[in-house]
Subunit: 336 residues, 2 copies
């Protein structure tokens, strides 16, 4: 037996040694963006990262200034048939309805309970705020976080019958990791709620809570005996969308990013604030062009309308991702 | 000559080699807090850092949760005879007065121009806001930053006739560095203006702009042709003081700190929010007890009043620094 084992052992040792030698080579050759097809979009990203991280090069950016900002809805995960945070809010309304019999006859709650999206859309900002107040306030931040965590691990997306977090974009996960591997810090700058994202975004995107910027409601500190709490109040504090995004970036980060990615006109000013500056800058727009694997929408969409930013992209030198042709995989679950 | 040089060279080489060996030893033995006198305060700090960073120990804190928050005025630098940001504002009023002849007869500007601190104190919050609006708004964030940078490099503190940034506390600089060397991330959480601190605090404290939380005025994004700007508006957005500090911490950092340092009742809720939690927590209060080298004040001071927090410290287990006995050096310029 020993005679048989020895050659195997030696063979194993030789293979192990070869593996040790080969790993760095293989690593150097591994494509960091395998879900991105070869082409101008991918080449532009790789070229930008190489230029800005090449020490001594003309476009070198010191590591502390390598700030990359990403919209969330429609940029890092899907946003159809409605923003996923809206699905959370509607599920909350349905769950709370048994304690609110009056909602059966009271708008905008009636519309939510009846799935009447047309009436709901007509309720406008006032209706939206009533839903936000009823579902996002009147509890501590940590209790709200527990509700979000519970929802995100149990709710299922209507089209794919999968958890909502399965609908993150695999190519964007690769882009986030690629930027971080090259010294960039990645931030979310989203119109979505900061307290809605923080419970799950760190685990899904590898982005820590302190690098998540979003819309927020007013909060209040309370000390109940020896138990301190931050309580969510039914009032909007800050809307981190459109021209609010550069404001949020300035307040939370205090530096101008060198890389910005978005997918809608809500990201227009963030793209302008990032790229209309001296030095190397990168603006990226995710254009939803794949009705089969994801959704196809832009100028006429009620969610994530992409109109002005699409017109402005060529003039500003922003890179527009054509989902259908640039991405060979959309979601992680499609990977073979 | 050659005979003389060789022994010297050899001696130099031997010394150089010895130095190479000795450096790691010396480093391991160097006191990271040399400006802190031996005693209970210093021992408590060193014990806490050792416990929380000892992997596998019962009080180990994962590196991503090692968040330390510091008040600025009175905690990291002096705040007498008035907050240094007030000195900046008053200098701005004096500089702008030539374009505002009406200020000669208009309060609160008249009081500033005449150095009438009593009338100024009587002008209350309304007066303060008028001064802030006149000195901190109506320009872009970057133009404001340039004004602050110019002031901080030229203005001199009335008592010490030195730049204001010379009045940082050497022991606190050592504490910041010591915490960072042990995996903590250090944040400023100040009642002072976020845009006032960001131009100079990174260079002085080693704290980057995205780790500076403070009070803020409303801002607005504007695009003038191809030139984007964030403009400071004459309206208060957020007061990061008192019960506002936990709110600011929650919004900007999204985690509860494990270490908090303050010096006044404005830091009370931050200390509560940090320490009234499970797991190892450290609350530190800088008590100004040294009228000779710095200032002595607490319960009756108009700036940095320390009253409730001082009463609460023993019950909460907060460590109170007695500047006079705990610090052998106050300012960096005192070092021999």
């Amino acid at each position: 037996m020993r005679a048989m084992i020895l050659p195997l052992t030696r063979r194993f040792l030789v293979m192990a040694l070869l593996a040790l030698v080969a790993v760095p080579l293989a690593h150097a050759q591994t494509d960091p963006l395998p879900s991105w097809n070869q082409g101008a979009t991918k080449a532009a990203i790789v070229d930008f990262v190489a230029r800005t991280s090449r020490d001594g090069g003309p476009d070198f950016v010191p590591v502390e200034d390598r700030i990359a900002v990403f919209d969330n809805d429609g940029t890092l995960w899907s946003e159809q048939p409605a923003y996923f945070q809206a699905a959370f809010a509607f599920d909350r309304i349905r769950a709370l309805a048994k304690d609110h019999p009056e909602w059966k006859d009271k708008q905008p709650f009636k519309a939510v309970l009846e799935g009447d999206m047309k009436t709901l859309a007509g309720a406008g900002e006032k209706g939206l705020l009533e839903i936000v107040a009823a579902t996002h306030a009147g509890m501590s931040v940590s209790d709200f976080g527990a509700l979000v965590t519970d929802w995100i691990t149990t709710a299922r997306h209507p089209r794919f019958d999968r958890p909502y977090t399965d609908l993150v974009f695999q190519p964007m996960l690769e882009l986030l990791a690629y930027l971080r591997a090259n010294g960039f810090r990645t931030f979310i700058v989203s119109g979505g709620g900061i307290e809605f994202m923080r419970p799950w975004a760190p685990g899904i995107y590898g982005i820590p809570p302190e690098q998540i910027v979003g819309s927020s409601g007013k909060t209040e500190f309370r000390l109940d005996g020896d138990k301190p709490e931050i309580v969510k109040l039914p009032a909007v504090e800050f809307v981190d969308d459109g021209s609010g995004k550069p404001v949020g970036i300035n307040r939370f980060i205090g530096r101008r990013p060198v890389f910005a990615a978005g997918n809608s006109d809500g990201d227009l000013q963030m793209l302008q604030w990032t790229t209309l500056n001296s030095g190397p800058r990168f603006g990226l727009i995710v254009h939803h062009t794949d009705a089969e694997r994801e959704w196809a929408y832009d100028r006429a969409s009620p969610f994530g309308r992409l109109d002005k930013a699409l017109d402005e992209a060529p003039r500003r030198g922003w890179t527009v991702v054509d989902m259908k042709s640039d991405w060979n995989v959309i979601y992680p679950f499609e990977k073979k």
